[in-house]
Symmetry: none
Amino acid sequence: MLWKEIHHKLLNDVRAGHYSAGEKIPTEAELARRFNVNRHTVRRALSLLRDEGFVFSKRGAGVFVTGKNATYRIGKRTRFSQNISSDGVPSRQVTSVETRHATYLEAGKLALKTSDMVHVAEGLGYLENTPIMHSVSQFPAGRCDGILTYLQTNPSKTDAFAALGIADYLRKETEVTAVTATAMMANMLSCAVGAPLLRVNSVNILVDGTPIEYGTTHFIGDRMVLSVHNE
Amino acid sequence: MLWKEIHHKLLNDVRAGHYSAGEKIPTEAELARRFNVNRHTVRRALSLLRDEGFVFSKRGAGVFVTGKNATYRIGKRTRFSQNISSDGVPSRQVTSVETRHATYLEAGKLALKTSDMVHVAEGLGYLENTPIMHSVSQFPAGRCDGILTYLQTNPSKTDAFAALGIADYLRKETEVTAVTATAMMANMLSCAVGAPLLRVNSVNILVDGTPIEYGTTHFIGDRMVLSVHNE
DNA sequence: ATCTATAATTTGTCTAGTTGTATATTGATG
DNA sequence: CATCAATATACAACTAGACAAATTATAGAT
């Protein structure tokens, strides 16, 4: 079986670190030329590598090497950058911001009326240059004005809150469910459509109980473990 | 299909009122970043939204929502249509003025000779920041001298007439037809070429029967209902 | 201040390249 | 002959990049 040899060779290359995390490996056509086989034979080898979690592919772009796994601790004070425990360095990036009216759900979670405005920030979290989470956060206007402009330059929510004079905040509630990735979510998280995701809905509050953030985060299921703490 | 999900999400955002009528939605590049796709994939989603009539785009400027989603708010539209028989629209703006010889048609409508001059004012009317009508008005020189300079600072015709000493005037005749949008009209009204328009020709007169205005107005068909009252 | 020339944005269009999917064919093996 | 691996071919969906055309923002000059 030709494709198994190719799989073995590619796996060795990845493990040997010839391609670092997040890096693009040669195209299927190129690999087919190199191994002197048909493109579909290469695809079969890549398919196994994909299932094993070593690489992920983006239609139209190429095949990329997957990063490492991590665990995410959820407690009373959860901060993304401090709570990811792994070998790699986590980073995050804000992909879009907007200000709009609150939906019914958001209004309820943030103690607002639907006529009130919310600031919305959407972003991705990375580990080893590969996406590991996607988050949408709603902040109540009035209590958090100016947070979006801050987040655009520095994606750290802790820093942003600090800049607004909020030195400390607490996790009030955390709801965790499991969902499967839609095409869009799969694309954003560079995982397969239908892959299991962890969906975390959370509310952060001030020490006096005033809600200041309602967020929904999706983690890639098989790259992330949530550990919940009740101290 | 990624672009279909993006289309669905954008449509939801528009429907939910996250972007209000006439407002600019994020640029294609921004949306591409947010959904983590190529700009062309966003364009395909926007293309469907355009075809469905929810947004329109202006090269070099951006993509804007049409306000079609807000048409179920009959209140504004009703008030709007009530005002058609009298003076004007909630927000209007004079785009150009000129003084020239009367055409044969204008001369007939305004009881002039073709050697007489007419003052011409062209303008746009807006509803919720979206253009909804285009009007051209001809005023007979001699009876309405100085009206153009006034209209340029204040687009209200009632005020302009009042400034000329005309406290009251009546609608003599109103003709309504349906036409399709030419390229020029489509551009001014931010609608598609070939879109259905309502064309209203009207003549306003003094209480003694002297005509003081002949006008042609085009309304966007699917955003406007004319209600005709015979009191 | 106001107008003007320049630069920066933003949409429209085009070409090329890459992965995903479906179907059909070849060739060796039992 | 039936089966399975590999090949061959074609198309769809998406990415990547470049450039043109229209608009908007910016800086400079008068």
